[in-house]
Symmetry: C2
Subunit: 360 residues, 2 copies
C-alpha cells in the first residue's frame, strides 16, 4: 500500500496514526466485541467516547466553563440557517465581514431572519485580500457580528479581529479550527465542519456561550441550540462515528503537544511553501499581502492555464493529489491542514522545483 499526499481542501487528509487506530479497533472496540459503528448512542461505551471527545476539545481550546460544546449534523451550511434563527432575537440585525463564498452565503441566509449589513468586503477583487475595518464600523444594535477566520477557497486569513466589547462575535472556523490556540472567551459562537482539521464529514462542532441559548422561543428542536445543549447533543442519534474519529484526532493533537505545537508546525509548513513561491520565477502566490495569506489553504498560479493543468497532472503522477485550485480562483491550491505532515510539503516543493526545472 502506498499512501498519497492529499492536498484536498476538505474532506481532507487525516493523521495516519488516527487511521491506523480506527482500523485496528474497527471490529472490536477495546474488547467490547462491537464496532463503534454498531454501538447504541446511549451505551456506556459510546457516552464515554463522546464525553472524552468533549473534554479533550475543551482542554485543547481552553474552552471556558460558560460555553457549551455541541456535536451537530448538517455542516456549516445548516449553521448559516441555525445561527440567525437562534441569535437574531432582539434587533433582528447582524453585521457581516464579507471575505469569500462562505461569508456571502451565510449573509444571504441570514437575510431570511432580519437585516444584514456588510461592514467590509473584498468582493471587488475576487476576495484576494482581507478588507480593513475597525471596531467603530459595526452597528450599535446588531445582534451579532459574523466573520470567517480562514477562507478555504481564496486562501486568505483574518488574523487580528478588532476588540469589539459587548458584541456577540460569531466565527466560522471551518478551515482553521485547532490549527493554533485561540481565545474562546472573545466569541459568542464558534462553528466548524469537522472534515478539515477535526476529522470527517458529517459532524459540525458548535461552541456557544451559555447566555446565547434560548433567546428565540419555540424553534424546531433539531434547529434549537438550547434543545441540543440541554440534551448534550443527543436529542436524537448523533453522527456517532464522526464523533469517535474527532475524538481520536483530539487525542492525537494532545499527544503532539496541543495547539501551540501544531501552530509551530503549521506556520513552518506554510512558510516553506510561501518562501518557495516568493522566489520562484515559475509559480506565484495569488495573495500578495503576506499578512492576509492563509496557512491552511495556499493558492498559487503558474504562467498559464495550460501549465497549471500540466503541473497538476505531473504532481498527481508523483503521488501529490488534489492540487487543482477552486474554479473561482483557478491555478493550484495546497491545503496544509493539521493532518498534512511536514514531509508532504517538502515533497511538494521538491516536485514543484523539478517541474519548474523541466520548463526551462
Amino acid at each position: 500500500m502506498e499512501r498519497v499526499y492529499n492536498f484536498s481542501a476538505g474532506p481532507s487528509i487525516l493523521p495516519t496514526p488516527v487511521l491506523l487506530k480506527i482500523q485496528a479497533e474497527l471490529l472490536d472496540y477495546q474488547g467490547s466485541g462491537q464496532s463503534v459503528m454498531e454501538m447504541s448512542h446511549r451505551s456506556e461505551d459510546f457516552i464515554k467516547i463522546a464525553d472524552t471527545a468533549e473534554v479533550d476539545l475543551r482542554e485543547l481550546l481552553a474552552i471556558p466553563a460558560n460555553y457549551k460544546v455541541l456535536f451537530l449534523q448538517g455542516g456549516a451550511s445548516l449553521q448559516f440557517t441555525m445561527i440567525p434563527m437562534n441569535l437574531m432575537s432582539k434587533h433582528k440585525k447582524a453585521d457581516f465581514i464579507n471575505t469569500g463564498e462562505w461569508s456571502k452565503k451565510a449573509a444571504l441566509e441570514a437575510k431570511r431572519y432580519g437585516e444584514v449589513r456588510i461592514v467590509a468586503s473584498s468582493e471587488d477583487k475576487n476576495f484576494n485580500y482581507i478588507p480593513n475595518f475597525s471596531a467603530s464600523d459595526f452597528s450599535s444594535d446588531a445582534d451579532y457580528i459574523h466573520y470567517v477566520s480562514n477562507n478555504t477557497i481564496f486562501g486568505t486569513r483574518l488574523v487580528k479581529f478588532p476588540e469589539v466589547k459587548d458584541k456577540v462575535l460569531v466565527c466560522d472556523m471551518s478551515s482553521d479550527i485547532l490549527s493554533k490556540p485561540i481565545d474562546v472567551s472573545k466569541f459568542g459562537l464558534i462553528f466548524a465542519g469537522a472534515q478539515k482539521n477535526m476529522g470527517i464529514a458529517g459532524l459540525t462542532v458548535v461552541i456557544i456561550r451559555d447566555d446565547l441559548l434560548g433567546l428565540v422561543p419555540n424553534l424546531p428542536p433539531m434547529l434549537d441550540f438550547k434543545v441540543q445543549a440541554d440534551n448534550a447533543s443527543m436529542y436524537n442519534t448523533p453522527s456517532c462515528f464522526s464523533i469517535y474519529v474527532a475524538g481520536l484526532v483530539f487525542k492525537w493533537l494532545k499527544e503532539l503537544g496541543g495547539l501551540k505545537e501544531i501552530e509551530k508546525i503549521n506556520e513552518a509548513k506554510a512558510k516553506l511553501l510561501y518562501d518557495y513561491l516568493d522566489q520562484s520565477s515559475f509559480f506565484a502566490p495569488t495573495i500578495s499581502n503576506p499578512k492576509d495569506r492563509s496557512i491552511m489553504n495556499l493558492c498559487f498560479l503558474s504562467a498559464s492555464k495550460e501549465s497549471d493543468a500540466a503541473f497538476v497532472k505531473y504532481a498527481t503522477q508523483k503521488g501529490l493529489v488534489n492540487l487543482k485550485g477552486h474554479r473561482s480562483v483557478g491555478g493550484m491550491r495546497a491545503s496544509l491542514y493539521n493532518g498534512m505532515p511536514l514531509e508532504g510539503v517538502i515533497e511538494l516543493i521538491r516536485v514543484m522545483s523539478e517541474f519548474e526545472g523541466l520548463q526551462a
Copy 2:
C-alpha cells in the same frame, strides 16, 4: 477477538463482511492511496461511491424513475421538521396514524406548519397494538398522511395500509427499510435513518416523488428537498463515510439475493423467537396479536422486573448484549435487523431456555 451478538435497537449490528471490507480498505481505498474518509466529496472516486450506492438502493427497492433518492443528515428527527415544512403547501393539513413515540413526535412538529389530525391511535394501551382504520377515515384535504411502518420502541408493525388513492402517503421506515420488498409507487415520500438496517448513524435516506419537490418556495436551502435533489444531495459536503458504509450494505444485500431473500431470513428469525416466546412459561411477548408483531424489534417480559434484570445480565455474560427493553415498555427487546445472523437468534433462544431452566 470475540464478537458479541448485539441486539441494540439502533445504532445496531452490521454484517461482519461489511465491517471486514471497511477495515481492509480503511487506509487505501482501491489503490487510491487514500481513505474514503479523506476523499473530497467532489472527487471522481467519491462521486462513484455515492452514485453506486444510489443505483444499488434503486435496484433493491425497485424505485421508479420519477422518485429522487436523497442522502441527507439530521436523522428522522430533522425530517419531522422538513416534511411538513416542504409538504404542507396547499391546505396546510396532515393526517397521522399514531402508533408510537416517533409518530407522536412527528405529529407534534408538524403542528408548527399547519393542522394535524390524528386519524387513529393506540396510545390508550401504551401503543401495544396497531389501531384499525380505513381509507375513508382520512381527511379529503390533507396535504399528506404520515405513518410509521415499524415501531422500534413498542415492537409493532403496520403491514397492510389501506389503498389511499390520490393521497400523498409519507412513511417513516427508519426501523424496517430494506427488511422486505415494498411497492415504492404507493408512497409520496419514504424516509429512514440509516443506523438500523442501512448502515451507520449520520445518514438519512429520503425517497421522494418528483412532483412533491418545490411545493413551498424559498425555504432555507439545507431544509429544501428541491435544493437537495437539484444538487444530488451535495448542496454542501454530505456525510460521506456514512454513504460509503450504506453502499457496502446495499452490495451485501444484493449479493445475498436482494430483499425477497432477506425477507425470508427476517421472517424466519422472528418466527423462531416468537414461537419460543409463545410456548415459554417464563417469557411472554408484549404484543399479543400476531399480526401486529414487529419482525425487527421483538419485545418480551418475564415474571418480574427483577427476573428481567437478572436475565439481561445473564445474557450479557454469554455475549448477547443490549437486550434491555426501552424504559417506556420495560422487559426485554431483541432487535433482529438485517445485520443479525440467524445464529444470533438461535443462540439467544438457547440462552433464554437455559435461563428458564435455571429458574425451575
